[in-house]
């Protein structure tokens, strides 16, 4: 049993719903109690889809237990087939139904419906949303994808083609990433054969084999399917996820190599504004800002690269909530000399952030909570999705326009350079009070980093006893307050570190400046 304040991922059957809802002609019969129908609103309200997800729930009740839940399932299955006439059906159970052991797969097969039935085994008490989506997509691909009829490669006649694998319903910017990458590939001269699951039908999955290679857009969703297609259909796939200018350029080179074409033209122009905006002198103040990054593995790793190489931040923390890709995250973290944080425990992430006192948090909606309480600026880089992650405007994360979007997103929560300066110079100015948030964000007040809202969970300070074993003299506390709040957390942390390392029990004004001299700006 695990205490969970926020969950980064839904249960695995919601992952399966993301696949089913993304596709055409697929229907999912889910053995589940009535409350599980809440999942429909994820699609109709968060993503604002104008149709219900193609899911039938058995909605059994307490009185059905032990008697006719299996019968309920069979009826639901039959009714759903009659009503929706899908090309393929998925069957499975949610957490509660899993405990009943009704064997939906067996029951479904026994009905003898004239379409393929793909049974899903998604262990609710072990696995989570991404795994469920990945497994579902893989099972569909395995069941449906066929090898290319004959590899008639009349070169020169056919444009090279690829499939885009991974975009789903309820995906973080998947809608726009698909458009961006499709456009990028078209410019390169590569056609998209099938995009899946988003917008694909069962027939489309059968055509997957006709492409020359696969673009693995979201490893969390489609890594398993891409590996299957490589192994069984001989299709290579791209390893680079094109998020950020550097990664997009690498991706272009990789895709071009797989397609056997020359990417030089496309790589010679500068197609994103990010590099120039990052070089513009008003961005100088971004240099070395300490950022903490947390999200799904793919977005977290890509974010770290952008932060370090393209914006000039200093990565002080990097982590992901999906253990499936822990190895990749650890490898990336080691590049930045930090220890990867692999956890789905919100409280652990909170502790790490408060201990590191970064100047910017790049995380999920959950890290926004932490950042808000700690008075830290924050931008969202990854699922879990919120209604605000489905803006009306074109907002890809991938490709060159994605890099533009990311520049704005990461820089927006920060105070602008000149405003930082004026705050630093004239701290006593009543209009520049410490309570001031960046004025372009409405100029509303911030909470002090020490003063989280009443009643909110507090970091477990007792545990971290060492951190508080040094004391602050009143003078030093006063001097600390003269440091603008957006770097004060760091100054406090550095001074305490310095004091501990040098055996100073009471921090004075001199200790503060000694620490400053020791650590530099």
């Amino acid at each position: 049993m695990k205490l969970t304040i926020w969950t980064y991922e839904a249960p695995p059957h919601v992952g399966a719903m993301r696949i089913a809802t993304a596709m055409e002609g697929v229907h999912y019969v889910l053995h589940a109690p009535q409350g599980d129908t809440y999942a429909d609103l994820l699609f109709t309200m968060i993503e604002r889809l104008p149709k219900r997800p193609p899911v039938t729930y058995t909605t059994f009740q307490a009185r059905d237990l032990g008697s006719d839940t299996a019968e309920l399932f069979k009826n639901a299955m039959r009714d759903a087939y009659e009503r929706f006439r899908p090309q393929v059906m998925l069957v499975g159970a949610s957490c509660t139904a899993e405990l009943l052991q009704d064997d939906p797969a067996g029951l479904a097969q026994a009905l003898g419906l004239p379409i393929p039935i793909v049974p899903l085994e998604l262990p609710s008490y072990q696995r989570k949303e991404n795994w469920g989506a990945s497994e579902t997509f893989f099972q569909l691909v395995r069941a449906l994808a066929r090898p290319r009829e004959a590899r008639e490669k009349a070169a020169g006649e056919r444009r090279p083609s690829c499939n885009l694998l991974g975009p789903t319903a309820l995906g973080f910017r998947h809608r726009d990433d698909v458009r961006e990458i499709t456009g990028l590939l078209a410019e390169l001269g590569i056609a998209v054969n099938v995009t899946a699951p988003l917008g694909a039908s069962a027939q489309d999955l059968m055509r997957l084999g006709e492409a020359d290679f696969n673009v693995l857009m979201y490893p969390e969703i489609a890594d398993q399917a891409a590996r299957h297609l490589e192994r069984h259909l001989g299709q290579p796939y791209t390893r680079t996820v094109p998020i950020g200018v550097g990664a997009t350029r690498d991706f272009i080179a990789e895709a071009a190599a797989l397609a056997g074409i020359d990417p030089t033209d496309m790589l010679s122009d500068e197609r994103s504004r990010l590099p120039w905006y990052a070089k513009s002198v008003d961005s100088t103040y971004l240099t070395g800002k300490r950022v903490f990054i947390f999200g799904d593995a793919t977005h977290a790793i890509a974010t770290a690269r952008i932060a370090a190489e393209e914006l000039g931040f200093s990565v002080v923390g990097l982590g992901a909530y999906n253990r499936e890709f822990a190895r990749d995250v650890r490898a990336a973290a080691s590049k930045y000399g930090v220890e990867a944080l692999i956890t789905d425990d919100y409280l652990e992430v909170e502790e790490r952030i408060l201990a590191l006192q970064p100047e910017l948090v790049l995380g999920t909606q959950m890290e926004r909570h932490i950042a808000k309480r700690a008075g830290l600026p924050c931008a969202v880089i990854s699922a879990p999705v919120h209604v605000q992650d489905f803006p009306a405007r074109y907002s890809p994360q991938m490709g060159f326009e994605g890099a533009n979007v990311i520049f704005d997103t990461f820089v927006h929560p920060l105070m602008m350079g000149l405003e930082e300066h004026l705050l630093g110079m004239f701290r006593d100015d009543f209009e520049f009070s410490d309570e001031a948030a960046p004025s372009h964000l409405g100029g509303a007040a911030r909470q002090e980093e020490e003063g989280a809202a009443l009643g909110s969970p507090r970091p477990d300070c007792e545990k971290d006893g060492a951190a508080r074993s040094v004391g602050w003299s009143a003078d030093a506390e006063r001097e600390l307050k003269k440091i603008p709040f957006f770097v004060r957390g760091k100054a406090r942390r550095n001074t305490e570190l310095f004091a501990r390392e040098h055996g100073v029990a009471l921090i004075t004004v001199e200790t503060l400046y000694d620490a400053k001299a020791h650590f530099g700006r």
Binding site: P11, G35, Y38, M45, Q61, L454
Partner: protein, 441 residues
């Protein structure tokens, strides 16, 4: 537990025809069965955790439960929640870990991190019910362990036992069983205090308190209170008014404490509010003249306010998908005070006794208990009502089909009770209709 009626028990009644009822029901009721599209009782935590500010809700359930609560109301973006989930995992199911030990550890960690918690609810879920985890016993054990700082109660919000608003009922029933005993000095039958039961907006509570004070009812308390430290007492002298139609178990629990329910319609709309207040006044021996004098100006003002919306809503048809159990009183209000035409009123559960007066006031519309969502959608498309009241899973798909909707969860999150809010309740129905006429593109 307050379960939907087994359809078998009413299967004999002719579909669509009036069902004989003690209260002389003006509406017909009929059952349905098929896929339901309703929230489970856990959803009530969304408003309950905001109402009782020093309480905390610990769901004992699966990742689905955790995800439901954080997603259902889009609460993710809001303030730090006062709820969490103890997620059951394979180790608990396989018996490797003792579920009770695990739960104790989770509670200990939670209380260490949140020293401000005064009242902790262990909330049962589908999985905890299926594996028969006894949360009442666990609550008793933990209450002993953490007394006197923290009191621990248990209730079930599981989707195999409760729908949506029944979670509030279950929670309040648990509170009711735990209220301090009122001193029984006076004669048991003499009313010595009024308890208003059901989560209400604070501004509504304040208005009601003023009204009862003006009537001369001295001791008026609200349940649940805003703080766990301010629990009202209950006993044979307690008279209670239900502010919501879905509080069957709570009423029973209060009655077990000796308290007496004052039968009344629900305080929605001018008529409902007046009848509700008058019922209490009668119980406390206050004259009808006094009631008329005290409520008259506010009732008259409310009628004036409603006039504006009556012109917008009169004659418009309305179709209810089952959701909050508020369907019947609201349909009654829309029909009688705004001239709307309820085509179909479906409700997840119909408490015939508590709704007796409401049903009597209803026009002859079919009241459907329980649901077959696909069939109901077919009927809805056929009927093409002017406005549909439904949950969030159905609203946008219906809008996309050109059918105007009112999402029902808003009825729980908006102050709608009492005179001053009668027009606000009407406006909730007028707004989507007005919007459709305003939008040009």
């Amino acid at each position: 537990m307050n379960r939907p009626l087994d359809p078998a028990t009413v299967a004999g009644s002719p579909s669509g025809a009036p069902v004989g009822d003690a209260a002389g029901c003006g509406a017909s009721t009929r059952p349905a069965r098929g896929q339901r599209e309703v929230f489970c009782g856990l959803t009530g935590i969304i408003w309950l955790h905001r109402k009782i500010q020093d309480a905390f809700f610990l769901v004992v359930g699966s990742r689905t439960c955790a995800h439901l609560i954080q997603s259902a109301a889009g609460v993710m973006i809001f303030a730090e929640p006062r709820f969490a989930t103890a997620i059951i995992d394979d180790r608990d199911l396989s018996g490797i870990a003792d579920a009770n030990d695990e739960l104790d550890a989770v509670v200990a960690r939670l209380l260490a991190r949140r020293p401000d918690i005064r009242l902790l609810f262990l909330v049962g879920s589908c999985p905890s019910e299926v594996i028969k985890l006894d949360l009442s016993r666990a609550a008793a054990r933990l209450s002993r362990e953490f007394a006197p700082a923290v009191r621990v109660l248990a209730y079930s919000g599981s989707g195999i036992e409760t729908t949506f608003t029944q979670g509030e009922d279950a929670c309040l029933a648990a509170i009711a069983a735990d209220l301090p005993q009122a001193g029984g000095e006076r004669h048991a039958d003499a009313p010595e205090g009024l308890l208003v039961v059901g989560v209400l907006a604070e501004v509504v509570e304040d208005q009601m308190a003023r009204l009862f004070r003006d009537l001369g009812i001295e001791r008026v308390r609200f349940m649940p209170p805003r703080s766990a430290l301010a629990m009202p007492d209950a006993g044979p002298g307690t008279r209670f008014l239900l502010a919501q139609p879905f509080l069957a178990d709570t009423a029973r629990a209060l009655e077990e404490r000796g308290a007496k329910r004052i039968p009344a319609p629900f305080p929605l709309g001018v008529e409902g509010m007046t009848a509700w207040v008058a019922a209490a006044a009668r119980e406390f021996g206050i004259s009808d003249e006094r009631v008329a004098a005290v409520t008259g100006p506010a009732a008259e003002r409310a009628r004036r306010s409603l006039a504006r919306y009556r012109t917008q809503l009169d004659g418009k048809s309305v179709f209810f998908f089952p959701d909050s159990q508020l369907e019947v009183p609201i349909a009654r209000f829309l029909a009688r005070e705004l001239g709307m035409r309820p085509i179909e009123v479906a409700t997840p559960y119909l408490h015939r006794q508590h709704l007796a007066q409401e049903l009597a006031m209803m026009p002859g519309t079919a009241v459907i208990e329980d649901q077959d969502v696909e069939a109901q959608l077919d009927r809805c498309r056929l009927a093409r009502p002017d406005i549909v009241v439904c949950g969030l899973g159905l609203a946008n798909p219906l809008e996309a089909e050109g059918i105007t909707t009112k999402w029902s969860i808003e009825l729980l999150f908006t102050p709608i009770h009492g005179y001053e809010q009668a027009a606000d309740l009407a406006e909730l129905f007028a707004r989507p209709l007005v919007r459709r006429t305003i939008l040009v593109t």
